[in-house]
Amino acid sequence: MKVIKEKHPLVMRWTHWINFPILTIMIWSGLLIYWANDVYKITIFGHTFVRFFPNWFYNWLSIPHRLSEGMAFHFLFMWFFTLNGIFYVLYTIISGEWRELVPTRHSFKEAWLVVLHDLHIRKTAPPQNKYNAAQRIAYTAIIVMGAGSVFTGLAIYKPVQFYWAAWLCGGYHLARILHFALTIGYLFFFVIHVVQVVLAGWNNFRSVVSGFEVVEKPGSANKSILNENPPAPTI
C-alpha cells in the first residue's frame, strides 16, 4: 500500500531550485568575462587537446565583445548566489540535515562500491540513509566548490583591497585559473547529476519539488486507517 515518505524539506528545495538559474546566469556572464582573455587550454607534451573555448562555441552563444555586460550581470547575481549558498549551509547545520550530507569515514570506500553498482558491475549497493556515499561526497564537494568560487572570485575582483584573499589563493593568476576550473567542475557535476536524476525516475525527481516520495509499505486494508494521517512534513 502506498505511503507518503517525506524526503526533502522546503528550504532544501527552495535553495536547490533558486541556485539553478542563478548559477546558470553566473556561468553565462562569467563566459562573457572570460572571453576577453580566453587563454586557458589543456596541453600535454606540446599538443593542445582542449582549447577553452573554440570560436564556434563563442559565436553559438553570442559571447564575443560583451565584457562590460558580463561584469554587470556577474556583479549583481553574485550577491544572490552567495546569499543563497550561505542560507543553505546554515540551514543544513541548524536543521541537522548536514548529518545526511556530510561524508562519513566509510564514505570514500563505499562511494566506489556505489559507482560499481551504478555501472551494473556490482549487483548490490552499500546500505544508505537518505543519500548514498557517492552523493554525500558530491553534495558536500559542490558546496566547498561554491565557497571556492566565491573566495577566488573575490580575489580576482578586488585583489588589492582583499589582498589576503588573493594571497591565500596563490596569487591573482592562480585565483583566476581556480575560478575557471571550478566552473568546469560545475558543468561536469551538472551532466552527471542530470543523468542520475533521469535514471532515478519520476518518484525521485518529484520529491525535490513536492518534498515527498511514494513508497510501498506491506500491509492489510485495516492498517490503512492508521496511515491516513502521516506525520507533518518537517520544514
Binding site: P21, S68, M71, A72, F75, L76, K158, V160, V214
Partner: protein
Amino acid sequence: MISKKIKRRNFLSFATFLGLGATATAGWEMLYHAPEETPGITAGARKPLRKALNKTELFFRKFFGNDHHVKSYPKSMAAKEVRTNGDIGIDDTGFNPANWKLEIVKSGEEVLKIGIDEIKALPKTEIVYSFKCVEGWDQIQYWSGLKFADLISHYGLQSLAQKEYVGMETPNGEYYVGLDRESALHPQTILAYEMNAKPVPLENGAPLRLIIPVKYGIKNLKRIGKISFSDRRPRDYWAEQGYDYYSGL
C-alpha cells in the same frame, strides 16, 4: 485516501514550481530587455544593472585602505615588451612631446602649466607591479614618475584635492578618466614619465601617463593632458561604454 493526498500535493507543489518558474523567467526577460540607462557620465549599461554597479561600488569602497598596497616585484621580473592595448586619445599624428605641458585646471580661469623637466626635478617614485587589464590579463611592469600626492603637495593644491573626484584627459580630449579622491591620492598612484627606467615611448603614453595600481588598466590614462578636480564624477571613457565607473581593485 492516500492517492488523493499524493495527487493534491503533487499538483500544488508542481503548480507552485511552474508558477514561480514562469515568474522568474518573466523577471529575467524584463531584466535582459531593460532599457539602456540615459547616457550621462555613465552610459551603455542597462538601467537596473547600472544601478546595481553603482550600489556595489558604494559597498566595496568601504574596504579601501591607503595601506592596502599592490605587491611589488623585483625589477628583473618587469616585462621588457610592455603590452599596449589601444591608442584611443593618442592616435593623432603630429603630437610633439616637446611642446607638451601638463595643464592643471585650478578654476574656471586659472590653469597651471607644468613642463616635463619641472616634473622630473621633483622626487621620483618607482613602482614594479602587476598591471591588470579589465580583460583579465596582467603584466609585471616597471614605471617611475611623480607621485600624484607629491604633485598636490608641491603645488599647494590640497584644497582642490579635497574634492571628491579627479578628472584627467588626453591633450586631444578623446580619452578621459574619472578617479575618486582616495584612489588618486593613494601612495602608489604616480604620474609616470619613465618605463623600464627610460622615457615612456609614445605608444605607452609619452611624455606623462597615469599609473594607478589600485584601478584596472582602463583608468591608467596615457598621455595626460589636463587634470581637473570636481565634486561630481568627471566623464570617463569606459564608463560611457558600459563599464563600472569605479573599476577599483
